[in-house]
Symmetry: C2
Subunit: 301 residues, 2 copies
Amino acid sequence: MRRGSKLVLRVRALDAAQPFDAEEKLRRHSRLKQSLTIGVLGFGNFGQFLAKRFVQQGHTVIATSRSDYSKIAGDLGVNFFRDIDDFCEEHPDVVIVCTSILSTEESLRSFPFQRLKRNTLFCDVLSVKQFPKQLFQQLLPEDFDILCLHPMFGPDSGKHSWKDLPLVFDKVRIGTSPRRVERCHNVLQIFEAEGCRMVEMSCEEHDRQAASSQFITHTVGRMLGTMELAETTISTKGFESLLSLVDNTYNDSFDLYYGLFMYNKNTTAELSRLELALTKVKSELFDRLHERIRNDIFDDN
Amino acid sequence: MRRGSKLVLRVRALDAAQPFDAEEKLRRHSRLKQSLTIGVLGFGNFGQFLAKRFVQQGHTVIATSRSDYSKIAGDLGVNFFRDIDDFCEEHPDVVIVCTSILSTEESLRSFPFQRLKRNTLFCDVLSVKQFPKQLFQQLLPEDFDILCLHPMFGPDSGKHSWKDLPLVFDKVRIGTSPRRVERCHNVLQIFEAEGCRMVEMSCEEHDRQAASSQFITHTVGRMLGTMELAETTISTKGFESLLSLVDNTYNDSFDLYYGLFMYNKNTTAELSRLELALTKVKSELFDRLHERIRNDIFDDN
């Protein structure tokens, strides 16, 4: 090429590895294809806990919450919006509802769905499942997809790794177009990539199983916490595991426990079964006691 | 030496290591001094479990029981006596009562103490302590020593090692002569040598602590066992620890559980505290529920 009459040399290739550029382009394309813009609604402990991994996996994460978490969000590489309309206008591919059980309904009833893309995937991560499923079905525009999730771990148990920790999911309503199927797949892929044990289960079955396991665990933990059991110098291994159960449940908010109870219709029956079991154990002890005393009385006579 | 006219050579020393013989003799002497003849009364699971270690430590172990355990005893290197008088006439230094809580009183009331040496050390290993202490004080000849023990482990938890497992002991009545003091020391030494955590504690204090720890652990285990909880596909770590608690307690005999309850006078109060705690947890849930419904009612009006 000539500038004026002077011959100027120009670099036409940065390196000689042109054949690889095509591969790199493909790779970048595939990364971009899988990379999601994830909107986190409710940026408390659990929302932050999830957002951190989403960012690590290369997704774009935005968040909104009743309180201002701009500072924490900034530190995590998350873009925080105080205004929920601004949050929606970012057009996230996926909105993950990370509100507490008790505030979910109110949050969703006031949510400006119309500002989102015509088709958006909604997920929740509540510890009860039938309730958010029904709420989504009632409140979300028809064109929205619904994927209910329950990561059965949290900031404590999933601190270091999510390996082998259960993720329960129910594809409640996923459109058939390849783009929508793939988007749902990509959300599940986040948990699969971390090594979670993927458990596909209906929301109804989840709530049945959770009532007889998770709710009972929390109830026993709160019962023992209420007793104010203390470490003894002669604690057995069994007793120490009870004390650590108290640590892992009684320190959770009462709101969470009440949410597990109130928003899962199987828990009332399980609570009754627990009460009945204690009554039965006690009766067995006292029946034997009474029998012995009566035997003494009637032997003596 | 000559036999007939023939010269016969005789070996006068087995090896050349004569200087060491003195040390070896001292060592053997000290072993013999510490070695006890231990009589095990009640040769069920727990008696066998202890006897095995006693034999391994070089003590002479004899046993007697209502049932015939000659075969098992033989395999363990224990001399079993079907006749309790024969057992006593072996003059054990120590008798360790390994009967169940429920049969202890009857076993002791029919025991031919007069056939033992004038001074014998009696120990028990029950999971309650005030009861055997009082029984020993009432029934044993005045010259007998009393050492109450509670190894807070068993054939399962102490299968491989007793290291760091608690042994609770109370020197209830040990004569002041050096021989009696040393005999008591040698019994404790058995557990210390295995690495047990040695906890000296009065029988009364043991029962107070055990009621709020061991008895509560068993009660919760039996309560959950009665509920027939089953493994779910979504079990959390907390729930799995409850299931293993059921395995470790509900499979024990009801007799053991009844013994822990009946023969520890602090357990009735602890059982009430547990019941009250469950009632309180339930009330908190239902109060909040009622409040919510009432708010709806009175808002509507």
